[in-house]
Subunit: 201 residues, 4 copies
């Protein structure tokens, strides 16, 4: 309860001030609580940051995993469900994107962040790889190794997120998602269809 309240405030603060600009004061002020309370519920500021990242990672993980499981039975359906999950309104908000990249910026030096992010990525990558392999095998796609498709997908998630973050004025989740659908329709044309483009884009 208090913990979640503080994690929410931390997300707000990082989105607004960055990790470096996030202080105990900014967090507790946003949460409307007293300064000392963070060290009461979390051991330290560092721990608060880690728990915040953990929360985001879990939320993201649950989102795509559920999408994957609830999607239609076919591999393309499941793969597309995972793609869509990255741009779900619960996950892909300007605030949360800002926080993700704040952590990415530190990940090189903070083993904790890195391993946290890696674990989740790895699981998703493995599933995507399996789905691509199924599709490639079933469709007779021989020119691109499934591993490469999965790699490009991972890069596209992050790359598009960064576009959305950097140019929030054109922020449109649907367009973002269409980028990836387009890519898939080119790679596996019999299994994904090109999205219809609105003129304006």
């Amino acid at each position: 309860m208090r913990r979640q309240q503080l994690i929410d405030a931390t997300i707000d603060s990082i989105a607004e001030n960055g990790i470096g600009g996030t202080t105990m004061s900014t967090v507790t002020e946003i949460a409307g609580l007293s300064l000392g309370i963070v060290n009461f519920h979390f051991k330290s500021k560092q721990n608060l940051l880690e728990e915040t990242l953990l929360f985001l990672a879990k939320e993201h993980h649950d989102q795509w995993l559920e999408a994957f499981e609830n999607a239609g039975l076919s591999a393309p359906d499941k793969l597309l469900a995972i793609v869509d999950a990255h741009f779900h309104p619960q996950i892909c908000t300007p605030k949360k994107l800002a926080v993700w990249f704040a952590f990415f910026g530190e990940a090189g030096r903070r083993e904790v962040y890195r391993s946290l992010i890696n674990d989740i990525d790895q699981e998703r990558y493995d599933i995507a790889l399996r789905l691509c392999s199924e599709i490639a095998e079933g469709g007779g796609y021989k020119d691109i190794p499934p591993r490469q498709v999965a790699n490009i997908l991972e890069a596209l998630y992050d790359g598009i997120w960064l576009e959305l973050l950097t140019y929030p004025e054109n922020f449109q989740r649907s367009v973002a998602r269409d980028h990836i659908a387009t890519f898939l329709s080119k790679v596996y044309p019999d299994h994904f269809q090109m999205p219809a483009f609105n003129n304006g884009d």
Copy 2:
């Protein structure tokens, strides 16, 4: 010169300590200069950081612009030259990638940095868009709007950079570049050819 010496040291320091861990001391110590000298050549720490980002942006800009101009005359050649420039050994080093994402992660400063590098990004995007339009027109590619190809390219640059940064143990510029070449060969099959894949990938 002193200024460049300090900017280089700043890059080293940010790569090693992050922006938050970069202090006047870490910078001047790496540069082998005295503490007080930064405020002599730069107005403030903030200014030093901005100049550092600007330096990277310019270096990057010069790289792809020169590649673009020196490339073969055809649009595909020129587009591929821009792609390659992103993974040139001068530009795409672990240290510099770390600095780029350190800046991307600093939400609070994003405004400042955005205003610094917007023009450069825009220029590259415009050129790529023009090239894609030429190719699409000449090749009769009608299903994907050139704007979208250009957008996906931008996302791929950043997304692949982030992969390289996050998983430095598989750091291979050539593989990175192949991802994009693969994408282009799928979008404009008559103008780009699929790279040959090594078995290991």
Copy 3:
């Protein structure tokens, strides 16, 4: 009772963490009680510390006073009983010595603590002085004023305690006590006998 339970825990905590490292938390945790309970039974932390010192002082006082009263009738017997009481297993434990010197070291609080234990020290000094006077008079010892013997005794108590505290690896109450007995045998040779020394010492 709760109060005594907390005082005991305070002694344990001071011995382990020092006065500075002793907090409401360390005390209540050792006591196995809830954090808020101290301010319930004691006015404040300061008050808890004072009561703890007072407890030690009283315990010490009772010890030597009882020893004094129960000893043989002769003045030397009674004086030696007081000496022995300082090294009684109930009084002279590593933990309690640590607490004593923790308090002695707290200059800022010395005034407070002095006012608490002054009377007790004075009472013991007066009794010792009286006993020395009796012995000196009865034995015709004219070269040392009784007051000086009493003073040296007081210094020896504390000095030997500090040795015991500082070098706990050679902690031997019997040796400590022998130091003082030796001193007395030199000052009042007809009334105290030199202890036998074990070779090792």
Copy 4:
């Protein structure tokens, strides 16, 4: 210069407020300097405290060592010189005594303090033991082992210091020193003479 200024201020502050009550503020305020300067010249508060203890220990060590070396050639002269050094006006001031006992109170838990104090004590103890052995041998004193005399001397130094600290209103270095001279005159009567007592004491 600045360092010594801060060490002096630390001694003043510990004497007045104790170690627990000594803060960066109290120290720098006494020194008339700015708050941040301690961490500039010393790494941390803990380091400042250790350097302060080191300074006192060195000063004390130099004092008795010089006294020992400059004293008359006979063993009694040298031993008495060491005794006297403990009550030299440079060493035995109310302020410095307060600081010593502040550190003694922490010594049990701070290995640094302990080892610092131990080293100095050991050297002095060894010298005193040697002198006592010489005297005992030369004078045919067989009833007290030299080791015990040396031990009692050590206890007396600290014990008398504590008396002086606790009852500063009777602070008289000469009386203190006489206590020890009296003890020695009783132990080695042919080599030390009883001091003359003023009536008042």
